[in-house]
Amino acid sequence: MARPSLQAKMRLGLWVFAALMFLEIIEYVVGLGLKRGAWLILAPLAVVAAWPIVYYFMHIRQLWRREEE
């Protein structure tokens, strides 16, 4: 499989950042908007926000896929 270009990698980073921004703003709106039970939404949202960082930025797949080296 051909290695993606550096520009493609940079674009991917921007998309991940945009998604993270979106999730943070949702968290903010939920946290300030709901008077009760906000944690029920915020807890899964935090997990959802952490995953793209771990998967795309920290490349956790490298632990079991050596071709990404």
């Binding site: 943070e24 930025f57 920290m58």
Partner: protein, 197 residues
């Protein structure tokens, strides 16, 4: 997970490449284990918030500032990622620029935390229940930010001396992974301290 194998041929270029790949795999596993152990520290701090304070949120939290410093830290993860990718593709100048940008954003984050602390002293001092949790958690996290910045500066200095190449940039990768971990920790700290109610 790839493990080190003693069965590689004892000579030749292939052996050297295989050894380097094994070494890199071991480095990565070691770093991930370290980050896993660090996550227990933050998990303990975050659980103490719920255990001692429930889900009550004190008045006086500077919410716009909390959101702003969160975005700054997320942006620093983007620049850190770009620094690593540039190093992986052999673009040293771009990698160096993004490393410096990451350190700058880390500094901006710390300034924001400093402002937050200044305000927090008035609303919930460290002697109060929530104040104890707030200052301990953000303080431990800020210490990680400072150590990450120092690590990135060391990597920047090494990069300036040409120590990293397209196929050999573990220093950049390791420092950047640590930085991302600091960001992941904040992704959980931010809603726990600022937003939960």
């Amino acid at each position: 997970m790839a493990a080190a194998s003693p069965s590689h041929p004892a000579s030749g270029h292939g052996s050297a490449v295989a050894h380097a790949a094994d070494r890199l795999a071991i480095n990565r596993l070691g770093l991930w284990l370290f980050l896993a152990s660090e996550s227990f520290l933050f998990a303990a701090l975050l659980s103490s918030r719920y255990f001692l304070q429930g889900v009550q949120r004190p008045a006086g939290m500077n919410q716009p500032l909390g959101l702003a410093i969160s975005i700054v830290l997320l942006l620093s993860s983007l620049t850190a990622y770009r620094a690593e990718m540039a190093a992986a593709y052999g673009d040293r100048a771009r990698s160096q620029r993004h490393l410096l940008a990451t350190v700058g954003l880390g500094l901006l984050f710390l300034v924001g935390v400093g402002i937050e602390w200044f305000e927090a002293f008035r609303h919930f001092p460290p002697s109060s229940g929530f104040g104890t949790i707030f200052f301990t958690t953000t303080g431990v996290h800020a210490f990680h930010v400072v150590s990450g910045m120092l690590l990135l500066l060391v990597v920047y200095r090494l990069g300036r001396d040409g120590r990293f190449t397209k196929g050999n940039y573990w220093g950049v990768e390791g420092a950047v992974k640590y930085w991302h971990f600091v960001d992941v920790a904040w992704v959980f700290i931010y809603p726990t301290l600022y937003l939960v109610s």
